[in-house]
Symmetry: C2
Subunit: 509 residues, 2 copies
């Protein structure tokens, strides 16, 4: 038997056209040619070659058995589109054993498909059953399952189209964001998950201890917590490295069980030194522009928004999701927001309060300068007033953390405001938050004192050092990665935005 | 004043030559042009433009003041090579205030340098002091500091050349590995840090609890730990998605304080479904080939090994490091190993035992078929027998975890062996370990029982499900990312391979 194209130990040579489709159009380096796995279904389907011999390991999404032939759809997880697979009767009894979920290896020819609905199909010459799947007890049936049901099968739920698309989407977003950061001269940095900080006394951190516990003292000589944000540690690195970012896990022991809360979530965070401007508010505006470029670049210009995974996710409807027409409207607005050349509007907190006051809406929470914006306010601003993403900037210092830089006074501001922004998007709420960081030692010390913290003590002395020893003005932001995934994929519950969600009372696997 | 080239809010247009150097030679997408930060020193130095106006925020690595002029070296963290900066006397008193470590913003012209040692220099037209730095108390002096001293200043130590180079190297390695995985059709997956597993009772896991603790019950309804490996969770995802990998933090509460131990470390782990082969040992060989392609591709073909960060790290010498000639020899061997087309040798555990027995060496630990290889054995195999990277394969089942696939019997094997490998490299020891995973339900059940685990119980039922419901043969591996960084950078202690190290008794920040 002639060896099949894809699986040859060592270096494999492909036809030039098949080579081109590997790696999403990027040319193959020496590296990738040192050893090559067989092409995935995505690679096979996007190859211009017809009549190619292939060998694929995958699992059966569905199979329809007729008298002399059976038609299957094979998935290997690389694409939401399965490989149309034709089993002729001369393959014998084996085909009868193939049911939904079964893992098989097939060898054969990929040819132009005579049927409608697909360009190509695989005419199977050999089939091997790798893993049987009892059709009676298989938890992932053809019918649509509720998200709640699927959370009981976290280890299997990525066999559904929507969860698989979500996992791939996360990886694609990460890759595209990394390209944007690389172009802008950033280093990726691994900041620690274990920290000596307890979320500034917020009381929502997890504490850790070894198992079994050591006789008397702490493992690290003092209490250790799981980080709630990588910002302060990233600031230490940007002090040396200039521009740094990370995508890392964060933890919050929130007992609130809502569709926006996870105990373990991923944050994209960045910090960088800037050129000073005479006007601090211009620095905040530039920060917003950077974030807008990141989101438009990673989601829009990258093509992700027009990709098949986003398409699958928007066609998928949870039991509690909005009516079809409304969803179409939302998707259209999203595509427009991430592909338009028009800048997203920026509005100061003071102006936002003004708009809310004159809106004529009945609010559950009173609108008052100096109070935080509530979800109902943010929704109205993004969904009704603007109808798209909106930066709200320059919040009162009293409702923001100690590290934000104080603004000079401006009209309509009753108290000191800080150079910061929240990016609000329709239906997903706050997606990104960031600020200019207070670089002036004395102002920082006073700001920390006003929040009951001591800059010159043991706990935050290092943070003060970043200003004491040649710190530069710098800015930064944090983006909730699951919120981004939910916004881009039209996913209503954050538990379907991460492969294996953890929240109060619940942790599978 | 004409606006300076780099800092214009919104979209900035650069000369074509400057555009080319951004992003390491990749063309700039629409995305990156939506908003652009000013060029970094790395970008300025690698631009072919001479006589360009620039504006840079950075900190002073060193400054030499003469009567009518001062020469500074400015760093912004983007490159180990600083920007040669010339301050003329007409800049006034301000220059006198600049000391090592001071943050400044400079504007001026980059021109061809008349001096030796650099191609370009910046003639400063304007300078602004952003952050003073007291030269008496600044912890990072010009002299070389010991690693132990610098660990007391974890928040500042990235201002040293070696730590900064290490942080950038980590990011570059991650990026290149991602390209390899992307080319091979892998999805990046975020597996959880919080797990219900306690390292299979190994007693080295951290347990977590919220602060303050809830009245009586566990936060997640059952005990929660920090993961020691992402493998089992990745297997669940590869069961659906085919090919998945992650680079994620892992945790081990080891009290051993050696230069190879961290409590928090990063692991690169991958799992994927394979085409079955008649001979299980061929699958292990293919797995080794994939890993070899990854390492050679990411470290060698990518150019990282010839980059300036690796150069800095190898020129940097810890107090306890090997003599200069020995280090040069090691670097040469490393470059050869990651760039050669010749495959790295593979040797079975059984053959390795044979070689160790006939070596004539005196061993502290006896060499005996069925016992683990000790560090002294691994060192001898990689450094003396092979003089380079070496895959040792097919270890006895008794000394390996439950999930590895049993091999058919072979000559010289006294008991059952499993399809697995360890990649041993000179001076860094075990860099990667991987195996074919046991996909046969009954064999897995028996293997788990033999290690005191119950596949059909509540704890591992999900892992059994991956075989019950259409699992395919699959393989995987894990690479200690800090060990890789240490090997590539010639760094002797793992605490200098991660920005903010944590180990028993010690956690800064």
């Amino acid at each position: 038997m002639k060896p099949y194209l894809p699986f040859v130990l060592g270096i494999t040579q492909y036809s030039p056209s098949l080579r081109r489709v590997f790696g999403g159009g990027r040319s193959i380096s020496t590296a990738a040619n040192r050893f090559r796995l067989p092409p995935t279904i995505r690679q096979i389907l996007s190859s211009p070659d017809v009549d190619q011999k292939v060998e694929v390991t995958g699992w059966v999404k569905s199979i329809r058995k007729q008298k002399r032939v059976a038609f299957g759809v094979l998935s290997d997880g690389s694409s939401p589109v399965g490989l149309q697979t034709v089993f002729r009767e001369d393959l014998g009894e084996r085909v009868k054993l193939i049911t939904n979920g079964t893992s098989i290896c097939v060898r054969g020819n990929v040819v132009k498909s005579p049927g409608s609905g697909q360009d190509k199909e695989l005419l199977v010459e050999e089939v091997e059953i790798l893993g049987a799947c009892d059709p009676e007890t298989y938890p992932i049936q053809k019918k649509t399952h509720t998200p709640e049901y699927l959370r009981d099968y976290t280890h299997l739920r990525a066999r559904t189209d929507a969860i698989a698309a979500m996992v791939r989407l996360r990886g694609h977003l990460m890759r595209e964001f990394d390209r944007y950061f690389e172009n802008q001269g950033f280093a990726y940095a691994h900041t620690p998950v274990l920290t000596s900080g307890d979320a500034e006394g917020g009381g929502e951190a997890f504490r850790i201890a070894p198992v079994p516990p050591p006789p008397q003292r702490e493992f690290f000589a003092h209490p250790a917590y799981l980080t709630v944000s990588h910002q302060l540690h990233l600031e230490a690195l940007s002090n040396s490295l200039g521009r740094v970012y990370t995508l890392s896990p964060c933890f919050r022991a929130e007992t609130g069980v809502t569709r926006r809360h996870l105990a373990e979530f991923w944050m994209l965070e960045a910090e960088w030194n800037v050129i000073p401007t005479g006007e601090p508010r211009a620095q905040t505006a530039a920060l917003c522009d950077f974030v807008e470029g990141l989101v438009k670049g990673g989601v829009g210009d990258s093509g992700i928004i027009h990709g098949e995974d986003v398409d699958v996710l928007w066609r998928h409807r949870d039991s509690d999701s909005a009516p079809e027409l409304e969803r179409q409207k939302r998707l259209k607005a999203l595509v427009s927001a991430v592909t338009t050349d028009a800048p997203w509007p920026k509005m100061s907190y003071t102006d936002a309060i003004r708009e809310l006051l004159k809106s004529g809406q009945k609010w559950t929470f009173p609108v008052r300068w100096g109070s935080p914006l509530q979800t109902e306010h943010e929704k109205w601003l993004a969904e009704n007033l603007v109808g798209g993403p909106l930066f709200v900037t320059d919040y009162p210092a009293g409702i923001k953390p100690f590290y934000m830089r104080a603004n000079p006074p401006a009209d309509g501001e009753e108290e000191v405001t800080v150079g910061c922004f929240d990016l609000l998007v329709p239906h997903a709420g706050e997606l990104v938050g960031g600020s200019v960081r207070e670089e002036r030692l004395d102002v920082l010390r006073a700001s920390m004192r006003s929040k009951g913290m001591e800059m010159d003590g043991e706990r935050y002395g290092w943070y003060g050092d970043l200003r004491r020893f040649g710190g530069a003005p710098h800015v930064g932001f944090g983006m909730g990665f699951e919120r981004l995934v939910g916004w881009v994929g039209g996913i209503e519950n954050v538990r379907e935005c991460i492969p294996m969600p953890r929240w109060a009372g619940r942790m599978e696997l």
